[in-house]
């Protein structure tokens, strides 16, 4: 690694982006927490919060090296060794290019991605997971699934002269995924499906109404996600440059268009555009534009957003057809949105807006790019789904993953956390 002079502007942007992406996980906690019933809102949020703790610690110990180390020179994983972050303060990130930012800023930024991905999965198993089992799951899952997959997608390897060592499998093949459509969303979506199968349906599913207990909380979550996503997407430029500007605008307009797409479907199908629909549309749009944000023109981002919003609005109904209780639609939003986003690059990708990207079908690039994208989608989907199924069943069979029926009826907040979310002016439960 050459010693490069740090660029303060690029560094400032990556520092900020790290903070923004951290905020996404509490944002997710509120988005999910508002959507469940009041009796399990805390548990829903705690699954996200504890994930922050667990992954942060593992990252320092071995996670960063497992994802971004290049010493093993493997396309499948980084290096199996201690992260040694403490010793590298003034070293610079290399990762296949020259990013004039401090290594630790890069390490922190990437940590935030490793946190939110498992947190996303928790939406599939609302109201019924044992908290301790969830914690163990997270630790195993990031180790066996996320860290390797992040390597496949995000590790561009160490460049010395013209030789690159340790680039990830998909990164080396030129699969375009700017900020994590595969590594984050498809990965979490496939894992969510697996866990929904492992844990089974909630008592009363499809019979009892299970309404969101606080839509303002859902909207707050969606808003914080949106805000943080600017760091997620535009921050993935790892510098304050024109590509970051492109990613910024695309992120904004895709989310806005997807909001419209989702509520238009609702207006036509159900007669009413809903708040939950708007919030869900925002997230669907953000998911879909994640891989594409730096490879497509803003008009294409609008189209991708509209498609993602409309499609996901239809997709969330499928779980009833197939009979799996993916409670908060991790599959319908993150998996479907992620796939739409990854494949859309094959159509809308434009080397004119980003010279590092290829042209998609609409720009005369033919099917080549779409093929690569499909490879990324398929590989990550299968790896994540089957490995998660395995991990999930292993936990269920040993220590048990699902709470007792009684606990589910009373509410997991009470049984798992000995708390209730609200005591509103309450004269009855000690609020006086």
């Amino acid at each position: 690694m050459d010693q490069i002079v740090i660029n303060t502007g690029d560094t400032a942007w990556v520092l900020v982006s790290s903070a923004l992406v951290l905020l996404m996980t509490p944002g997710l906690a509120f988005f999910y927490g508002g959507m469940v019933r009041a009796k399990s809102a805390l548990n829903m949020m705690m699954m996200s919060m504890v994930t922050i703790g667990i992954v942060s610690v593992l990252w320092v110990i071995y996670g960063f090296k497992l994802a971004f180390g290049y010493e093993a020179n493997s396309p499948w994983y980084g290096s199996i060794s201690l992260s040694g972050l403490g010793d590298a303060v003034n070293a610079l990130a290399n990762n296949g290019g020259e990013y004039p930012i401090p290594l630790l800023a890069f390490a922190t930024f990437q940590l935030m991605f490793a946190i939110i991905t498992p947190a996303l999965i928790s939406g599939a198993i609302a109201d019924r997971a044992r908290f301790v089992a969830w914690g163990i799951f997270v630790a195993i899952w990031v180790t066996l699934v996320y860290f390797p997959v992040a390597h496949w997608v995000f590790a561009f390897g160490n460049k010395v002269g013209d030789t690159i060592t340790g680039a990830g499998f998909l990164a080396a093949r030129g699969v375009e995924d700017f900020a994590g459509g595969t590594a984050v969303h498809i990965n979490a979506g496939a894992a969510g499906l697996a866990l929904a199968i492992v844990l089974g349906k909630r008592i009363g599913w499809q019979r009892s109404p299970m309404r969101p207990h606080s839509l303002p909380l859902v909207l707050l979550g969606a808003s914080l996600l949106w805000f943080g996503w600017f760091g997620f997407n535009a921050g993935s430029a790892l510098g304050a440059n024109a590509i970051a500007g492109l990613a910024l605008l695309n992120t904004q307009v895709a989310a806005g268009a997807a909001l419209l797409g989702w509520i238009l479907v609702e207006k036509i199908r159900d007669g009413h555009p809903t708040t939950l629909g708007a919030a869900s549309g925002v997230v669907a749009g953000l998911v879909a534009i994640t891989p594409a944000c730096a490879f497509v023109a803003p008009w294409a981002a609008v189209v991708i957003g509209l498609i993602a919003g409309g499609f996901c609005a239809l997709a969330v109904g499928l779980k009833y057809r197939f009979g799996f209780d993916d409670s908060l639609d991790v599959v319908g939003v993150h998996f479907v949105g992620g796939v739409i986003g990854c494949l859309s690059i094959g159509f809308f990708g434009s080397s004119a807006v980003n010279s590092l990207g290829l042209d998609g079908i609409f720009y005369g690039g033919g099917l080549a790019l779409l093929g690569k994208q499909a490879l990324g989608v398929v590989l990550v989907t299968f790896y994540s789904f089957f490995l998660t199924l395995l991990i999930g069943f292993a936990i269920e069979k040993t220590i048990g993953f699902r709470v007792k029926n009684d606990a589910e009826l009373v509410g997991v907040d009470q049984t798992e956390h000995a708390e209730s979310a609200y005591e509103m002016g309450g004269i009855l439960k000690g609020g006086r």
């Binding site: 969330v316 109904g317 639609d329």
Partner: protein, 112 residues
């Protein structure tokens, strides 16, 4: 002594309170309830799933009254609470054997 219980529409509470005050009633106890009846509910939709809400918000008013005032008060409530549309509510009267004012321990009609 009697207890008059009235279930009315929430939007009518102010009117009923005013009318009762005019009729000389100074005390009452009010609470939030939900009603099921002929009046239909409404449907809410979350991510495309429909949730029929058949419980409608109502207000319950309870008034302790002397026997001789009951008919007049019921009349007053009917007048002030009625909108003429389904779901306006019900009033019922039950016997009360004893009333006590907590503050003083007073008993009977004086305690009302």
């Amino acid at each position: 002594m009697k207890l008059i219980t009235a279930i009315i529409k929430p939007g009518k509470l102010d009117d009923v309170k005013a009318a009762l005050r005019e009729a000389g009633v100074t005390g009452m106890t009010v609470s939030e309830v939900s009603g099921v009846g002929r009046q239909g509910g409404h449907v809410e939709v979350y991510r495309g799933s429909e949730y029929p809400i058949d419980l409608l918000q109502k207000v319950r008013i309870e008034i302790l009254a002397k026997k001789e005032n009951v008919d007049a008060l019921v009349e007053v409530i009917v007048k002030s609470a009625s909108t003429g549309s389904i779901g306006d509510g019900k009033i019922w009267v039950t016997p009360v054997e004893q009333v006590v004012r907590v503050r003083t321990g007073e008993n009977g009609e004086n305690a009302i």
